[in-house]
């Protein structure tokens, strides 16, 4: 018997019991859906993190007060780090700038402060205002929509110029054309020089309500560069393949500057993209395994339900099997018929699960954060459901195939 005939037969049998088939597939659908949703959430997050890192520049690293991977393990290490580590200063920045041979670009940034922004009657509260050197625009690959980032000269002169996020631009300048206009930040007037392209929201948090002003201006008008305004540096390697050397050199220079002896811990932190992706992979590796348990169990339950229904079906259709055997169906024909039916049933469940997961993914992407439905997830889900169908169909199909034709014909 040809495979096409067997497949047609399977589809007809599934269609003949629509409601039963649908109920049978519930477990399979939920299992596959959960699998695909989890995978697309995690992959979406990974893609997001990768893009962010690419945004910062995959070839950049930061030097800051704390090393989050070393210092934030528990309350003791946090307390120790707080005692040991000191804020970075602009003098540190100058020191590195003068002595480094391997760093390509070295930028300095201050963490931000929420501030009120005004223009005429338009007021925007809690705009995240931070300071940066001019070269950070290059290092961070800023996507400039209008105008320009401020210049080195403007930073050196502590000019009151501002580079604003898309959201700020839209709300303060509803009529558009913000470049060259004046806005008031914390009561002081600034001239807008550039607007960044909109980035949307991530995890429900808008990414476009920010203002960057020159670091010197920030230090003058927002208070000393300590605590929440603490300074950190971002750097790129002069030559791509000497990235690790550039990191090592920075660490060495900082240790010399901080007069640390051999065996003393760093009292500053250096964060590389590798460390971030490494941490992400560690966290999501364990989340992935735990999260796979739910779809895994649902898939097993789904497979058992299919096996159960196939056993019922074989019993119900004993007469049919007898008729087919009397007309010349061989064991293999009957085995194939029921096996293909189970696999087809399971794969239909898998396909429905994938479609539902895709819809959920679209909703999540629209409301919360990006998801990514990969070919790997689709093929994995189809393979898993098909495999589950094969396993669950094998025993019932074998039972059907070895029925004695005389006994089977006698069944009602």
């Amino acid at each position: 018997m040809k495979f096409v005939e067997t497949l047609k037969l399977a589809l007809a049998a599934i269609w003949a019991h629509k409601l039963r088939s649908a109920l049978t597939l519930l477990g399979m659908i939920i299992g596959v859906m959960a699998f695909v949703v989890v995978v697309s959430l995690i992959q979406g997050f990974n893609v997001y993190v990768d893009e962010k890192i690419a945004g910062i520049g995959t070839k950049s690293f930061t030097i800051q007060r704390f090393n989050p991977f070393e210092d934030f393990k528990d309350t003791d290490t946090i307390a120790a780090a707080q005692r040991r580590n000191k804020d970075l200063t602009l003098d540190d920045y100058e020191y590195l700038l003068q002595r480094t041979t391997l760093i390509g670009k070295l930028g300095a940034k201050a963490r931000g402060t929420p501030a009120e922004v005004k223009r005429d009657t338009n007021v925007l509260e809690d705009v995240f205002v931070s300071g940066a050197t001019a070269n950070t625009a290059d290092i961070e690959n800023r996507d400039i929509a209008e105008g320009r980032f401020f210049s080195q000269a403007e930073n050196d002169a502590a000019s009151k110029v501002a580079y604003i996020g898309a959201d700020v631009s839209n709300k303060i300048f509803p009529a558009g054309n913000p470049i060259g206009s004046e806005i008031t930040i914390r009561g002081l007037p600034y001239r807008v020089v550039g607007v960044e392209a909109p980035k949307g929201t991530v995890f429900g948090i808008p990414q476009d309500t920010f203002i960057v002003i020159p670091l010197k201006t920030y230090a003058n008008n927002f208070g000393g560069l300590v605590r929440q305004r603490s300074l950190f540096f971002i750097a790129t390697a002069r030559v791509d393949n000497q990235f690790a050397d550039a990191v090592d050199e920075s660490r060495f220079l900082m240790r010399v500057r901080r007069k640390l002896g051999v065996g003393e811990k760093d009292n500053f932190g250096i964060v590389t993209p590798d460390a971030i992706t490494g941490l992400r992979d560690r966290i999501f590796g364990s989340i992935f395994i735990v999260a796979m348990l739910v779809p895994g169990i649902a898939l097993i339950v789904g497979a058992i339900v299919i096996m159960n229904i196939m056993l019922v079906s074989v019993t119900e259709r004993t007469k049919e099997i007898g008729i087919r055997k009397s007309l010349g169906a061989r064991k293999m024909d009957i085995l194939k018929q029921f096996l293909v039916e189970a696999v087809t049933l399971a794969t239909i469940g898998g396909a429905i699960g994938i479609i539902l997961a895709w819809l959920i993914g679209r909703v999540v992407t629209a409301i919360f954060f990006p998801t990514y439905l990969s070919l790997f997830a689709i093929l994995g889900a189809l393979a898993a459901s098909g495999g589950a169908g094969t396993l669950s169909g094998l025993f019932p199909a074998w039972k059907a195939a070895r029925l004695d034709p005389i006994e089977a014909l006698r069944a009602d």
Partner: protein, 252 residues
């Protein structure tokens, strides 16, 4: 390879160069000393003991006997649904008694056309699909299959009922679909088990007329029945009692 050449010869012309166990006159059905024994717990029940007979091509025979006589067992053996515990069964020149399950399935598909008391049609399938079933297992492509099945339905005067399902047909029509299904593969025997058992007298006559016509057209018909007036329409009657042939007589 002598099997092949013999099988292709007309039955009447076949004679064997004895010594290889083949019956001297090669008949369509040759049963030699057939025993069928069932083990019921520790007891052995002989459903058939020592049954021998031959059927030539084109014969119309009835196998009769009271219930429990062993005629159902004999029918299952003739139809290759079962194999004998002892003895030889040659069907159309092939030794069926030594075949395995898959070979038997092939023989059922090619050599035997079953007609059952309760029709045994697939309820969800159309008349056409029911008739196509043996062709599907015979590996015949769909276009040729449709053609053959339509011809078989036309042969039993059901050309206008091709797309009907069994529940849309009368008892007589259902049995005619079953007969079309039995004939579609051009089997060497048409094996009917109480074919009128579920039909009223008038319809029974119609079905028996159909069997007679099929016989006249050259088919070999083996009818299993316990009804004397049905058996009387055959040309030869084999009576079974207690697992043995009681009488084997040519009646016309």
């Amino acid at each position: 390879m002598s099997d092949v050449t013999l099988a292709t010869l007309p039955t009447e012309e076949r004679t064997s160069a004895n010594g290889n166990g083949r019956p001297e006159v090669v008949s369509l059905i040759a049963m030699r000393d057939i025993w069928k024994t069932y083990e019921m717990g520790s007891e052995k029940v002989h459903a058939l003991h020592g049954v021998s007979f031959e059927v030539r091509k084109g014969e119309y025979i009835a196998i009769t006997g009271p219930s429990g006589s062993g005629k159902s067992t004999l029918m299952n053996l003739i139809g290759c649904l079962d194999t004998p515990s002892q003895g030889e069964y040659w069907l159309n020149g092939k030794n069926v008694s030594e075949m395995d399950d898959d070979e038997l399935a092939r023989i059922r598909n090619q050599e035997v056309g079953f007609v059952f008391q309760t029709f045994n049609l697939l309820a969800r399938a159309t008349a056409l699909h029911n008739v196509e079933l043996p062709l599907i297992y015979g590996g015949i492509g769909s276009a040729k299959r449709h053609e053959m099945a339509k011809q078989a339905l036309a042969a039993v005067d059901l050309a206008d009922r091709v797309t009907h399902r069994p529940n849309e047909l009368s008892g007589g029509q259902r049995q005619r679909v079953a007969i079309a299904r039995a004939l579609v593969n051009h089997p060497s025997i048409l094996l009917a088990d109480e074919p009128t058992g579920a039909l009223d007298t008038h319809t029974s006559q119609e079905i028996m007329d159909l069997f007679e016509r099929l016989h006249e057209e050259g088919n070999t018909v083996v009818l299993v029945t316990h009804e004397p007036d049905i058996a009387a329409r055959a040309h030869r009657i084999i009576s079974i009692r207690d697992g043995q042939i009681e009488k084997d007589q040519v009646v016309r």
